[in-house]
Symmetry: C2
Subunit: 400 residues, 2 copies
């Protein structure tokens, strides 16, 4: 007998029909002899509707009261899901985040989990009940409701799986797994049987958002075996674990990220500390920097280019102009770029991966603006117009 944690997002339980679809997945798992703990988000648009109600009354409401409001959303979905499971004839109980033992710090709206005290959970599991837990929420030391922020329900599921030493944590989504590329756009995109935590983290960072990074990091830390699978199509998903089956594939997939801007500072004086000044000021403003390229410019000056999220481009330019205008350096931004990356822990031990990627792009006639590499990724910055073409070409080179 195994202990399975299953997580369902808000769209999976958006109406009565979907609630019963999810209920049947759960009861099927239970009837196979497993213990089942389920984490569920608020139904469909509930959270957005509640935020709208709050804004109508007070756009500057305290985060404490916002969390009090929003946690009502999962309370509705857990009880409705439990009622559906009662209808299907299985023993079930719904638990709020605090009842399931979620203790957090007091950062309302983006609380961190301190502990999952499992007494109640364990008692209900021992009583052979399917346990439905409200995701996204916990309780702080003042006994006040908190929420975990974006992707909070994924994090709740992984935290429960870690605390209960569950055999697997299944994250149900609207895709059937993790693919080598976006299957809607790339021919021959293949579903991966498995993938490592690090690869999954790179996938998320590089724009193929399936799982929330925070939940993958937690899964890695506590060695929780994840499965990404679909709530609508019943087939095996992709397993995320420490050591994936790497025999066959050097790389795991090709991703693109079009939410990217390139910022350039051309003609900086070549004096120590310029890069430090630049990136520390950007960091102070909360602007995350990705690919960085530094080159020697004309007349002993330096050029630095880097990428950041599009939404930060204007702020970044303003900050850099403030620093470098006096020096005569020219600051500019370009949002017509895209980042295309390959991800795979296998490439560490294989030479030729980068040249294979660059060759594929060359043959497709696509110019590379910038290159960056990490242990398990190679990313190139190209003209946004050619992003899909680039993904297809690179995917074909590696996956045929």
């Amino acid at each position: 007998m195994a202990l399975i944690v299953q997580k369902f997002g808000g769209s999976s339980v958006a109406n009565a029909e979907r609630v019963f679809n999810v209920a049947s997945i759960i009861t099927d798992t239970y009837k196979k002899g497993n213990n089942v703990v389920v984490v569920v988000s608020a139904q469909g648009d509930t959270t957005d509707d509640l935020i709208e109600k709050a804004k109508e009354i007070n756009p500057n409401a305290s985060k404490r009261e916002m969390d009090m409001l929003l946690t009502a959303g999962e309370q509705i979905s857990i009880s409705l899901l439990a009622m559906a499971i009662e209808k299907l004839g299985c023993p079930v109980i719904s638990l709020l985040g605090w009842q399931a033992g979620f203790r957090t710090n007091s950062a309302y709206g983006s609380a961190r989990i301190h502990e999952v005290a499992t007494d109640r959970l364990q008692k209900e599991i021992d009583g052979k009940k399917i346990v439905i837990v409200a995701g996204f929420q916990g309780l702080n030391k003042y006994d006040d409701m908190t929420t975990l922020g974006r992707g909070g329900s994924d994090t709740s599921a992984v935290a429960i799986a870690a605390a209960l030493h569950a055999d697997r944590c299944q994250i149900y989504t609207d895709v059937t797994g993790v693919f080598t590329a976006d299957p809607r756009k790339v021919e021959n995109a293949q579903k991966l049987k498995d993938i490592t935590y690090d690869e999954m983290l790179e996938f998320a960072t590089l724009g193929a958002q399936v799982l929330n990074n925070r939940s993958v990091e937690m899964a890695k830390k506590y060695n929780v075996e994840l499965e990404v699978l679909s709530s609508l199509v019943r087939e095996e998903g992709t397993i995320v674990r420490e050591v994936a089956n790497m025999e066959k594939m050097l790389i795991r997939g090709v991703t693109k990220d079009t939410d990217v801007a390139r910022i350039s500072v051309v003609g900086m004086k070549d004096i120590p500390g310029n890069a430090f000044k630049m990136f520390s000021r950007l960091a102070q403003k909360g602007i995350n920097i990705d690919v960085i390229l530094q080159s020697v410019g004309r007349d002993g000056t330096k050029d630095i280019s880097f990428t950041c999220a599009k939404g930060n481009a204007d702020d970044a330019v303003a900050i850099l102009k403030d620093i470098f205008d006096m020096e005569g350096a020219v600051v500019s931004s370009d949002t017509t770029v895209a980042k295309v990356s390959i991800v795979g822990a296998g490439m560490q031990s294989h030479s030729g991966t980068a040249s294979k990627m660059f060759g594929a792009l060359y043959e497709a006639g696509i110019n590379i603006n910038m290159i960056s590499t990490s242990e398990i990724t190679i990313s190139v910055l190209i003209d946004k117009e050619y992003a899909d073409k680039a993904v297809s070409a690179v995917h074909k080179a590696f996956f045929g």
Copy 2:
């Protein structure tokens, strides 16, 4: 400085505009230097909407899960009301039933309050915060959500007032107080300045539902001074307390109840135990009996008539036929009746009250079917068609 508990029903906070109306009543009370604890119900139709959602999924859902679902309703209203008060610039905090210390038994759907543990409430009051408490809800010994059933928020408010020894518990409604008769129907109906708990209980029982009986009983038990007043019209309401000002008025008001059926059993054998058999069987089925009239019938038989709520009439007739058909007695019901009553602790010490009432009905040409009296009420059963006419005639006789 006084401690005031204020209770607002669901229609008082049904939309953003009404939420702000209520918020301004609260902050005005606070700004006058009072400590304020507020009990609020779920907004408008929220509870009905949630029940509808549950029925769609499982009409036989467990009461435990129903209470989990329904308690989300007040969670939404307390946080929205707190946000409105934040907007008006006063310090405020919302608390769920369990956070406010409501401990109940485990009768889901109609839980009884065991205790209001006031630590948290007192801490927030001491911190000069307006405290907004979710009415209708509590927590049982398993740490599961419970609801208090019909009129639960009134009961929550009185329980908090009792536990905190509040100076007054204000129940805001859609009427400006308790009247000598329904002001929409009776000319010269007068608002009462005050009324005793017992009189208020009779008013509720007799069909002039303003306050829930359970909350009045609790107020009487713990000597909580109630005020019934309007959330829309700002004027003094009616005070409910142990000794009301009885100098002027013998009686407090005239009420009618049209949710009443008369059941008759004619021609019972005159043997001991028939009345016991009859009323114990009715009690087993949860049918509450009101006025009872027994008379000698023809040929040494007995007739018994009584009244009950209309909704129980068919059940009552079926039960009685089951008992008395064998004996040849005839069971019938009549739902074209109404009960008109006068209420007033003052009538105890005054003779002539009953004859004054009967005289007024006689002059109005209204026939009396049955009469019953208690220490502070006199009720008559009449043809429903004449109910309003009867109320007006009796009201005129006592209040001019």
